[in-house]
């Protein structure tokens, strides 16, 4: 085998008392797509940040094409031909898509003046490879998934030898993901090496050549994809077998119970129109659709997080007026945001404070004082249930890995014992084991009569978890699929509107 383009040996990294990486070895061959797997908090992102010059290792060596390299900062990494798509989106919200895409180039640009016209034209070309997002838009005005696409586009502009993708598809739907895979394959064929981090086994097996597994900040193994199996990787990651990825659905003879949530005529006048849906006790309702189809906005409008123009909502058979999110919470309806960093967690506050944010009332004593013992207990209990890897519930959420931050966001929703939970991309960034755990938890809640709505861009999740799926297109409910109709093709057809069968239209009308 030729010299590895990138070789890591004995790299360790600690954050205070936490040892994120211990003596890690890793090697990347030229022109390969190398998957990196591990549970949440295993140290994947930390290693990538070290390679990209964002963090400095405490010890260990990095070799690029056999040469020892000290990567002091991101600029140095770029000079070495290393590009990283960060797990946490890091873009400048006040700048346009075009400027964000070409920011590294602008940084090294010699010419004293900008040429916006060329910049925009070039940026649009790159952007269009992934999705037709207008590049003159400010990034701050984009949905989180579109921002993710901008992040990827940005990395594609770099003239790199090593491209690192840290969970690039976590918020993407199938079509965008497929476009990305095509690009990755193309890059590989040009001899570029790619490190690909994902919790989605199917992607890894369709895209990658080799796979390396980390556990608890240590190197476990590297295998040829052809010589291993998803089960084996999972076993190496988790250290045990995962018996069943998805919990059992409602059996055919188990009729769902009384309606928990009933929505009709919900519109906001701009992004969601005439939405109707019904959720019954015991079932898990999925919502699918393409990026930007308006699923998130639909849910946010329902919960009073965006102003609505019309719509009636019943919870437990009783009509409720929701003009602010606080009304929804009071009525037992909670929403888990897809934008973890932007609206899901308080990064610089403690895990305990994050978990209790949704309902302080129940932690409050007679004098209006917060019972901090109860707060700690609650957070500790939930963190344990969700398997949050942390130093303690007093630690700031910013010190957690992406997946663990997501678990904290979920813990917050669970803390209030809601009637109905709408979860927008609930398992975004969550590892296989924890994901199965969370799915079981959701099913459990559903069985105990809690209404669960799952908005997901991950097709297998919709199909594996939900009893029924609504598909949204351009702000409207395009159709409904019940358990035995659920398939990727069916969802995509409804979502993209290619099928114009009478049947689908009929269904759509029935739902609306």
């Amino acid at each position: 085998m030729s010299t590895p383009i990138l070789e890591i040996s004995g790299v360790s990294k600690s954050f205070g008392a936490i040892k994120a990486l211990t003596g890690i070895d890793f090697s990347l061959a030229p022109g390969e797509v190398h998957a990196l797997c591990g549970e949440n908090g295993a140290g994947k992102s930390t290693l990538m940040n070290i390679i990209a010059g964002v963090l400095q290792p405490d010890e260990g060596d990095i070799r690029i094409s056999g040469e020892r390299a000290v990567i002091a900062n991101p600029a140095a990494a770029q000079r070495l031909g290393i590009a990283l798509v960060h797990q946490e989106i890091a873009l400048c919200p006040d700048a346009t898509v075009a400027e964000n895409i070409f920011m590294p180039a602008i940084n090294t640009r010699r010419a004293p003046l900008m040429n916006f016209r060329t910049l925009q034209a070039e940026a649009q070309k790159v952007m269009d490879l992934l999705a037709p997002i207008p590049v003159r838009t400010k990034v701050g005005d984009l949905s989180i998934s579109n921002q993710q696409l901008v992040e990827i586009a940005k990395a594609l502009t770099l003239d790199c030898r090593v491209l690192i993708l840290d969970e690039p598809t976590a918020a993407l739907t199938e079509p965008e993901a497929q476009r990305l895979f095509a690009i990755v394959r193309e890059l590989r064929s040009r001899g570029i090496s790619i490190i690909y981090i994902s919790h989605r086994m199917a992607e890894i097996f369709s895209l990658c050549d080799r796979v390396t597994v980390f556990r608890d900040g240590r190197y476990v193994a590297t295998d040829e994809i052809a010589a291993t199996s998803p089960d084996e990787i999972v076993r190496k990651m988790v250290g045990r077998e995962i018996a069943q990825l998805y919990p059992d659905k409602l059996a055919a003879d188990e009729a769902p119970g009384q309606p928990l949530l009933k929505v009709s005529n919900l519109s906001d006048g701009s992004r969601c129109f005439d939405v109707g849906l019904e959720l019954r006790a015991g079932e898990i309702l999925g919502i699918g659709g393409l990026i930007g189809s308006g699923r998130s906005e639909m849910a946010q409008t329902l919960c009073g997080l965006r102003p609505s123009a019309s719509g009636d909502v019943e919870i437990d058979g009783k009509p409720v007026r929701i003009s602010a999110y606080a009304d929804a919470v009071k009525a037992g309806l909670v929403y888990l945001s897809e934008d973890r960093k932007g609206s899901g967690v308080f990064l610089d506050m403690s895990i305990a404070a994050n978990v209790s944010a949704l309902d302080l009332g129940k932690l409050t004593g007679k004098l209006g004082l917060l019972d901090r013992r109860a707060e700690t207990a609650q957070a500790t209990e939930l963190a344990k249930r969700l398997g949050v890897r942390m130093a303690g519930v007093g630690a700031a959420v910013s010190t957690l890995s992406g997946g663990n931050q997501q678990k904290v966001a979920i813990a917050k929703q669970l803390s209030v014992g809601p009637r109905v939970m709408i979860m927008d991309e609930p398992t975004r960034g969550i590892d296989v084991g924890a994901k199965a755990e969370i799915h079981r938890l959701l099913r459990d809640l559903a069985r105990r009569g809690v209404g669960i709505v799952v908005i997901s861009s991950e097709m297998p999740e919709l199909i594996g978890l939900c009893d029924r799926v609504l598909v949204v297109r351009e702000g409207r409910v395009a159709g409904e699929l019940v358990a035995d109709e659920l398939s990727e093709e069916a969802i995509i057809m409804l979502a993209s509107g290619v099928s114009n069968s009478q049947n689908t239209k009929q269904q759509a009308q029935n739902v609306a």
């Binding site: 008392a17 997080l305 602010a324 999110y325 606080a326 929804a328 919470v329 009071k330 909670v334 929403y335 945001s337 932007g342 609206s343 899901g344 967690v345 308080f346 990064l347 610089d348 506050m349 404070a353 944010a357 949704l358 309902d359 302080l360 009332g361 932690l363 409050t364 209006g368 004082l369 917060l370 901090r372 013992r373 700690t376 500790t380 963190a383 344990k384 942390m390 130093a391 303690g392 519930v393 007093g394 917050k412």
Partner: protein, 328 residues
């Protein structure tokens, strides 16, 4: 799990280690170091008279600092505090001169201050302006109101009844009431800010307003009430100043805001919201005060005072920052 162990170890009880890990530890050390140095440099420093002078000089302002700190935590700022302090004095004073008893007059003065806060809160939460520009306009407007009410001349309130003057000028067992009030206000709000549910929402809102909204917190209400609180405390301070000075000066407190904000920032409050403590802010105030009075005690030439004061300030915050960063 390490997590559990640590959590249990950190009981509610105080201990030295915990003290050392507080955000404020660095400042305390720096202030103590300055005091020790000063007590060698000047025989007058470690006297009750000097301490009384230092405490008196910042205790009423300290009440304003409390409100400002909470406002900074929510992500706001209030440039109008100096004007509001003066207006509260002026309104109470004018009402007293018009025949009202000073207690009622003071209550009205404080209520008017709260109202100013409410108007600012309206512009911030309903119109959507930022705190900086709203409170800047309020600063100018309220100062103007002071001039209008007084026609520019200080109101002499020599005739205030002794019982009322006692608040600002009297003492209990040798400890001025002003200092007692200050300590109580600081202690109460420091406690509330750390422990009360209502104030926790201030932190959520300041840390990430959107996430707070997504947690069902009515962040606009939170911002509104914190704005009102800041003005109310400024109004309260104004009334105490009136009692202490026996006068209502329309130009009083001009430029005060910078000192107040500086104290809070030195004490660890962030201008971006989400962090800060009352205790820290008061330490910030104390630091500024100790430095100023040391220079006077040491008989430093007035030409050199500002320069030295600024340098000590810069050195102190640098050291504090480095101490704190080392830990983090």
């Amino acid at each position: 799990m390490t997590a559990q162990i640590k959590t249990e170890g950190q009981g509610a009880r105080w201990n030295l280690a915990r003290l050392g890990s507080m955000r404020e530890a660095g400042l305390i050390v720096i202030i103590l170091a300055l005091c020790i140095a000063m007590s060698f440099a000047s025989p007058h420093f470690l006297t009750w008279g000097n301490f009384r002078a230092m405490l008196m000089s910042f205790s009423i302002e300290g009440i304003v600092v409390v409100g400002m700190t909470i406002l900074l935590i929510v992500g706001g700022i209030d440039l109008s505090v100096g004007s509001v302090v003066a207006f509260s004095m002026v309104v109470s004073g004018a009402l007293f001169l018009a025949g009202l008893d000073p207690w009622t007059a003071s209550l009205i003065g404080i209520a008017v201050s709260a109202l100013i806060g409410a108007v600012m809160g309206f512009f911030v939460t309903v119109v959507g302006l930022n705190h900086f520009i709203t409170s800047l306009a309020a600063m100018v407007i309220v100062r103007g109101l002071c001039l209008i009410v007084t026609k520019g001349t200080p109101l002499s309130l020599f005739t205030l009844p002794p019982a009322f003057k006692a608040i600002g000028q009297g003492s209990f067992q040798g400890v001025p009431y002003v200092i007692i009030i200050f300590v109580v206000v600081v202690a109460v709000f420091d406690f509330l800010l750390r422990r009360a549910t209502a104030f926790r929402k201030v932190f959520y809102t300041g840390s990430n307003e959107k996430a707070a909204q997504y947690s069902g917190i009515r962040t606009k209400q939170v911002k509104f009430w914190v704005t009102v609180l800041s003005s109310t405390l400024a109004g309260f301070a104004g009334v105490i100043y009136m009692s202490r000075f026996g006068a209502a000066t329309p130009t009083f407190g001009a430029g005060m805001e910078l000192n107040i904000i500086a104290a809070a920032v030195i004490g660890g409050a962030s201008l971006n919201g989400g962090s800060g403590t009352i205790f820290g802010a008061i330490l910030g105030m104390a630091l500024l005060s100790v430095v100023t009075s040391s220079l006077i005690l040491l008989d430093i030439s007035v030409y050199w005072q500002d320069m030295i004061k600024g340098c000590i300030l810069l050195a102190a915050v640098s050291i504090d920052h480095l101490l704190h960063r080392r830990k983090a």
